[in-house]
Structures are given as structure tokens and as C-alpha cells.
Symmetry: C2
């Protein structure tokens, strides 16, 4: 088990976020490391997805995880228990990560020894969509119990992501969630997004997600 | 069916939020109207809970609803279809309501003819907890699929609420959600909070919630 390192982060009000974000992207390009920003509502399954992804990728890619939480270090501890380098950013009352905060996380990792760093952003469908973290790819999770109407209410998040993982498909039998209606609403906002149904509980769909991730990472690590 | 009125709101950066909030509370005290602020993550069931509450209360109290959304008017339309006065506040990119925004909603309602106004805040467990809206009571929903660890991650929201509704208990059979663990975590943050398990789908527990609400409203409307 790895040790969890905890960093208390604060927003640098005056920093030019886009400039800092470009700097992070460039730095990781040079070290051949892909940075992925994972976002969702609270409880949609970000930590479970990361744990499933670590299992699927551990023999292929060298991984690091940056966890963001307003409080607590429970998520980073779960990741570290798998032997993965985990940084916990504690954001205080903050509702999103910006590029300066991510920089602090990246600087605490030995990036030359990592192929992929996954950021688990603060659980929130609103604010994280507004701040470039410096990630190369943005991925969001929507879970079935949240409902198929969320693209109507939180359009920016769906617009900026490269992949939408529709998690908790094991709940579909108890739900009136309409997958076709969801897909139509999402594609109307973002025609290039890849939509992948998964269940972190049963493992269904995880292979397709891991395949996407390996292929995406290949462009960065070589 | 009532007509939905739409107001585009902007944050008044310089306003003293606490002062405006006290003004809203006082105004509604004088008109014998209770103001309730309902908060949760996206998709936890705020609109469904409001529709169930309207059914349960319509013969007892005169109701109005203020809906907040970053985009769309779908929620206000569902409420208006029940013949209830509904104001839709469209917050643009904004992630929470403040007291100035709520004032705009309250001013658009005929408060002398209302006993209870319910605010459906933006779906977000972080930012809405930081802003006094002027409500007399704060109520939050946590749904079973979000998990029992949320009080560890979003402690402020659980600390400021008078009632926690644990929704979607119809999902308990498919879930490893631990209700006792949740209650312990919540009560450690807020020993005065009332915790009520409900299902907006089956109606289970709604009577207890409606009873709480009638009793709470009695202190304001008489």
C-alpha cells in the first residue's frame, strides 16, 4: 500500500487559469504522461470507476491518481491501498479544481515514472466544467439513478467532455431511465462525445472503457 | 395549468448576502409565508419530492415554487402543470442561489396568497450550502445510489440542514448503502437534524415528511 500525501490547496485568484493549464499540459506532454480529468455529481461512481480502471490497466500503464475532496482522504486511501501513487488535494470549501491546484498535485508526483494520471475532480456537475485543469482529456460519469434529463440542466459539462460513461446500468431494471433519449440529448450538445454504458459494480462495459483509454494514452506516451 | 414565469438572474457581487437574506425572511414572516430551501446533488429527486409534497399538502396549504436551473424550464413546467404558481430562475452558469436571486423570485409571487414557498436550488452539494437564501428552513435530499459516505465529503451541507430526506429507498435492495452508518455520520455533524427515509417513486415515507412540513409551517402561517 502506498502512503497518501495530503495537500491543502487554495485558489490563486489572480492566476491566469488558462495559461497555467497550458503549462501543465505542456509539461506532461514532455514527460510522455497523459492527464485525464474525471468529473461527475457526488456519488455517481468516480472512485469506483478509478478502482476498476486501475485493475484493467495496471499491467499496461504506470498510473497515478490525484484525488480532490472538500474534506476527508477516504478516496485516496482506497487508491493507495491498490499500490498506486495517490495525492489527496483538500480544497477546503472549494467546489472545483483549477489548473494551479492540479499543478500542486502534479508536482507532488514523479511524472517521469507515470504514463497516466487521473484527476478525480470535486463531485459537482456545475463548477468543474468551467475551469480548464490542464488535462488532455475530460471524462464525465452520469449514473442511471440521476436521470436521463441531466443534459438539459447541466449542458456545459456534457459539451466539454470527450467521453460520457453512463454508470450503474445494473440499476436500469428498477428505473425509467431512457438511454436513447439520453444519447439524443447528449449528442445534440456534443456530436463528438463517446458514450459508454458501464457498471462499476458488475464490471459490464469496463473493457470498452479501458480499451478507449489505452488507445487515447498511446498518443501521449510514445 | 399555471403559466411558468422565467427570470434570468445574475449575482449582485457587492450585495451583502446575509443582510438581503434577513430581509427576505422578515418580509415573509410579515406575510405569514414560510420559505423552504431544498438542496441536493443533481438527480437526487428534488422535483419528484416537490411534486409528491404538492399532492400531500394541496388541501392544507397554499403553495408556490421557485425553481432554479442553469438552463431549461422543465422542472417549473412540471410544477405549473399541477396548478401551482411556479417561477423559474435561470442562473446562467451559476452554481447556487443567493438571497438577491431568491428576492427576485419572491417578488414575482403574490406572497399574501401563499402559505409556503419551496425553493428548488441548483443541483449541487457544495456551493448552495455556503449561501443563505433567506429561507426559514433548509432541507436536503441524499439518494441511496449516491452512497452512505457523502457526509464525510460534503460536511457543510449536512451541517446546515434542518431535515435530511434519504430518497430512493426503493433502491436499497440493489445497494450496499448502510443506513445506520449514514445516520451516525450525519448526527456527528448535526445532532438536531431530522432524518426521514422516503421513496418518491413508491410514496413510502412521504406522509412523515408532509407531517413534519405541516407542523413546521404552522409556526409561520398563524
Amino acid at each position: 500500500m502506498e502512503e497518501v500525501r495530503l495537500i491543502e490547496v487554495k485558489e490563486e485568484i489572480l492566476a491566469d487559469n488558462n495559461k497555467v493549464a497550458s503549462g501543465v499540459r505542456e509539461k506532461l506532454r514532455n514527460s510522455k504522461t497523459m492527464l485525464l480529468n474525471l468529473m461527475s455529481s457526488p456519488g455517481s461512481g468516480k472512485t469506483s470507476l478509478i478502482l476498476r480502471t486501475l485493475e484493467g490497466l495496471k499491467n499496461n500503464l504506470r498510473l497515478g491518481v490525484i484525488e480532490a475532496d472538500i474534506d476527508s482522504t477516504v478516496d485516496a486511501e482506497k487508491v493507495a491501498a491498490k499500490g498506486i501513487s495517490a495525492i489527496q488535494l483538500r480544497t477546503g470549501g472549494f467546489c472545483h479544481l483549477d489548473a494551479s491546484m492540479v499543478t500542486q498535485g502534479v508536482n507532488a508526483l514523479d511524472v517521469d515514472k507515470l504514463d497516466l494520471i487521473i484527476i478525480e475532480n470535486v463531485g459537482n456537475l456545475v463548477c468543474p466544467a468551467e475551469f480548464d485543469t490542464g488535462a488532455h482529456k475530460n471524462v464525465m460519469i452520469l449514473s442511471v439513478p440521476e436521470g436521463d434529463d441531466k443534459p438539459l440542466k447541466y449542458p456545459l459539462m456534457f459539451s466539454i467532455c470527450d467521453v460520457l460513461l453512463v454508470n450503474k446500468i445494473d440499476y436500469l431494471s428498477l428505473s425509467d431511465f431512457d438511454m436513447d433519449a439520453l444519447k439524443k440529448r447528449v449528442l445534440a450538445l456534443n456530436k463528438n462525445i463517446r458514450i459508454l454504458p458501464v457498471s462499476c459494480k458488475t464490471g459490464e462495459g469496463i473493457d470498452a472503457w479501458v480499451s478507449w483509454l489505452k488507445e487515447a494514452a498511446a498518443a501521449y506516451i510514445t
